[in-house]
Symmetry: C2
Subunit: 317 residues, 2 copies
Amino acid sequence: MRVVSVIKRVPDEIKERLIKKFGEVEFYFCHGMKEGRQHIKEADVLITFGEDVTPELLDEAAGLKWIMVLSAGMDRMPFKDIARRNILVTNVRGIHAIPMAEYAISMILQVSRQAKALVQAEQDHQWNRSTPMREINGQTMVLLGTGAIAQETARLAQAFRMKTIGVSKSGSIKPHFDETYSVDRMEEALSQSDVVVAVLPSTKETNYLLKEEHFQLIPSHAIFLNMGRGDLVASHTILQAVNENQISHAVLDVFEEEPLPENHPFWDEEKVTVTPHLSGITPQYLPRGFEIFERNLHAFLNKREEMDNLIDPKRGY
Amino acid sequence: MRVVSVIKRVPDEIKERLIKKFGEVEFYFCHGMKEGRQHIKEADVLITFGEDVTPELLDEAAGLKWIMVLSAGMDRMPFKDIARRNILVTNVRGIHAIPMAEYAISMILQVSRQAKALVQAEQDHQWNRSTPMREINGQTMVLLGTGAIAQETARLAQAFRMKTIGVSKSGSIKPHFDETYSVDRMEEALSQSDVVVAVLPSTKETNYLLKEEHFQLIPSHAIFLNMGRGDLVASHTILQAVNENQISHAVLDVFEEEPLPENHPFWDEEKVTVTPHLSGITPQYLPRGFEIFERNLHAFLNKREEMDNLIDPKRGY
């Protein structure tokens, strides 16, 4: 039984723990696929970020039974070949929930508590106690999306005694939402918001879903935060929304074009806060990814338990 | 039955609600004591921030039965005269808990997620995804103090899956703390911290309680936040702690001298964040204060229920 990891810079403590825990397994921890390719022929299990899995690689990996993808998105995986070969695929769905929820709460508090003005006052040595503060306690957060990331964000928002409304395709009930609406009632949700958090994936249905008419429905004191995908709403729609005071502030971590061009008006717009697509970045990424792998390896070897985050190769998710 | 309020700028909706709810009560909403003084002779109840209550005023207010102090501190109240006259005193203890807890979480997230560096990068139009982010999830927060404000901060910290350790005089168990230590075991608590939040009042015992030796015990990656009183620790001790990397960052809302002098080294120290004693500032202050008053007025009139936040004038708290 041979496990080949092509993940770079796996911390030693993770390697040692796996080797110690699974004595019957031979582990090859390789620095990328270039180094790992030599072992692929005899690999039973491959641990990868997924972007290096090609039909040619699968042809070489004659004994491969399971691909553990240490990523949530799997746009480039050759699922047809995988399905034909009956290879199991698992991923790390939900791994971004904790850092992205912390990002959302952090940024909403920053805007509500005027962090930028306070930093400026500090730079100017100015003791100014009249900067108006806003609480998030008691406010309403509307989340576009009700998946793992939205749920974790809503869970924290509820701890701050915010009311949470989730909007999803089906509108089905999910944990940590006081109310859930289907997307055809999105307008009704938006009109109740103090904070709107968008965490939708990029699909046909979400492509430019948010339009000017929606920003007109959002109360003018509300904060709009997008940490899902940049193609949910056009840049000019956001700029118009802040310029015409349809919303009070936009916090953007994702953009139509990334990196955001150096001359883009977002950078200098006072009512827009730009962060460089980092809401999901965390030093806990690899430790958490390998924890999911460890649980799944245990299930894979025992064949009795079900593996977590099993992907249906016919659907690709 | 006459209630005299000398609180300035009480929102109309609060006045109207009280007048409507308590038909048998005559309310005089005055813009400060200067205006209110004319009614004090016939007042049964006085609503005040407390700083204007003098022995002379009490002599004038022959019928006074209850003083509602819309403040948490009552350093200047003439408690001897109050006790002799058997006047009830209630305050708004705990009113700062929600904004101060939001302040603490906001600032800890800001430091952990390098808000200042991100604001700078935004000003420079720089798309830089390599600024290291830190999660607060899984970290340990040590709170010096276990009162209402510390409890609310600990409650939110637990929602972020932080471990919470409270340090108080007695070390008695309080809600939202995973562990509570008495102050003679403070060193043990500090050595486990990722974040230290000080929210102690100024007393003989807390005066310069934190010394250099304590900062040496705090892990060097930890954040120190003081939103209690400035005389908990000397400025030079904090400066030394950041300069010698005993801690990674200090967030200070309170100071030995306030306003913080314009030439104080804290302003320019990169590893110190200064805010101008605003952690407790909130637009919800008067609404919450009058809510406590409303509950208490109900109890006062019915004489059956106990009033909230009753002060023992012999002890002054």
